[in-house]
Symmetry: C2
């Protein structure tokens, strides 16, 4: 009886595999433009050629589906990051919301300046000031409470210049790259300097990237029983900074294998692109270059946010794809689609 069962099971799996293969071939044979918001040009061509190459079983560059790992920076790569990182808008709004419980903030920097509306003065304290703001606003609650806070903020907060919700300011051309890669059996991951638990509540709905495929900076959490109920409490202590040299470390820790494609926009992504392209076989690295002052922002070597300097030189030297936003993208945000 067991023998028969196993045979039936094997047969149905084989049938499923065969049918899937047939459908996939059917789909890829259609001449559908997978990147309709990309203008024709070198960047679009490079993406499509790479995908064709690694998915072609006859090719020397073929990569089995399980190894098709693609990593994406978030700030400035999948959504905008000007005039400052969106997570900082969140933190500032949280400082304002929490101020009534912290009368001492009225006379304590960086909070005092923030509450007076002087963000520049508040951030003059540099990394230390940012860390204080982050810890005061991102720690001290359970992970579930924090998730709700993020979701509520996203539902109401608007960007100061576009007046759009922050999750509307994602890049349509990059959404298409994500979909295109997944349709070709890639697993897409975010690898961002942003907070891992700030991203997870919305990346699945907005990017199609589930929480378990989000890598980011983190603070420590602690398991506690509150009565009968176990909770994870967010502690005001840094755990991991997922930026620069930290990105390959985060990739190794979370994914455990080297990506074959990586997408970024700043020097903070350089080590991720180096780590990705240093693997054997076909590799792909892409920088989004913010060149579009009219439709988005234009900044690179001298920017405090999303500086792209060393990375730009290395990209040119190594022949990585550099997206010229003005030239390469027909639209920037989904809400601009006709």
């Amino acid at each position: 009886m067991k023998q028969v069962s196993i045979t039936v099971q094997k047969f149905s799996f084989a049938l499923l595999g065969f049918t899937l293969l047939g459908l996939a071939q059917l789909a890829s044979a259609q001449s559908v433009d997978p990147l309709p918001s990309w203008n024709e040009g070198k960047s679009k061509q490079a993406i499509i050629q790479f995908v064709a190459k690694v998915t072609n079983e006859g090719s020397a560059d073929f990569v089995p589906p399980a190894e098709r790992i693609a990593t994406f920076d978030n700030d400035g790569c999948l959504w905008s990051e000007q005039p400052m990182y969106f997570q900082l808008f969140f933190a500032i709004d949280r400082v304002k919301a929490l101020a009534p419980q912290h009368p001492e903030w009225k006379e304590q920097e960086p909070f005092a300046s923030l509450l007076k509306g002087d963000v520049k003065a508040a951030l003059a304290g540099g990394e230390h000031a940012i860390l204080e703001i982050v810890m005061a606003t991102h720690a001290g609650m359970t992970t579930e409470e924090f998730e709700l806070i993020v979701k509520e903020w996203l539902a109401t907060a608007k960007h100061p210049t576009t007046k759009r919700h922050f999750t509307e300011m994602v890049f349509q051309p990059m959404l298409e790259v994500l979909t295109y890669l997944r349709a070709n059996d890639f697993k897409t991951f975010i690898v961002s300097g942003g907070g891992i638990e700030f991203m997870r509540p919305w990346t699945e709905a907005v990017y199609g990237i589930p929480p378990e495929q989000v890598v980011g900076s983190s603070i420590k959490t602690q398991f506690e029983m509150r009565g009968d109920k176990p909770v994870l409490v967010r502690l005001p202590e840094l755990s991991f900074i997922d930026d620069k040299e930290g990105k390959p470390v985060g990739i190794n820790s979370h994914i455990g294998r080297r990506p074959i494609a990586a997408f970024g926009n700043s020097d903070g992504d350089l080590q991720m692109l180096q780590w990705t392209t240093a693997g054997e076989g076909a590799r792909f690295a892409l920088y989004v270059h913010h060149t579009d002052a009219e439709r988005e922002w234009a900044y690179d070597r001298d920017s405090h946010i999303g500086r792209l300097d060393k990375g730009l030189d290395e990209a040119v030297e190594k022949g990585w794809t550099v997206v010229d936003m003005t030239q390469d993208w027909e639209v920037i945000y989904p809400y601009q689609m006709k």
Copy 2:
């Protein structure tokens, strides 16, 4: 033109979805025993009933596929852990292999005892001794070098009593649970106190669990350029202990959502089972109870390895599934299959 392309794409996706649904229904309608190595009884029934409940779209307990997360301890849950954790056999073999480069070990504990073959004396130093052995054998090389070392060891090393390769000593009934859950759109993860990079080189081949779904204890790594080549170097410094209170922390960090099913065998898994079952909706928790001195090992409340004491009481109290290995499992290891 774009409009037409998008319509064609939508149609082909709809077609794919429809066909997949049809095949899945076909498969689930067949009366194939998904757990052939499990004897009929309460444990087997509980697993099957849980899966039926959360996958039935009409049921109040239905869980969407994306949220079907199941976590498994490794040592003692997916493979054996006696007479000591298999990773410790690896560490001891590495001490022997590295001894020629460390003449000082001849007079330095815990190495001196280990090299004389007296494991008990070596481990008398407790946690500190184990940490020294781990750091001496698991750090100081790149991540790629370590992966090779693990693979070479697994290919040659044998268990002292069964004389089998360690990866042959996995539990056939648990392999069936993994396959059964995945066939029902669960994502299966390992959440183990063992070393994350000790497991990843073989979990995909042995359990069908890819590296990115393995959570474990870890040491720190550091990004370095060696000439033109970026590497990650393993440092002799603990990063994370994925045991007890650490398991929900590791789950939150790596997966970012709460499992709906968790499988363990010791008090080290208790917090994972508490965290899993404290979520809303249908939840499943299972303990493998090692009761089979003849075919495997029998140990629980007094064991130094895989102690199951508090967890056993809580399982009984809360009605979790407790597998009686002797009663519930028709075979233990795959090589015993007829």
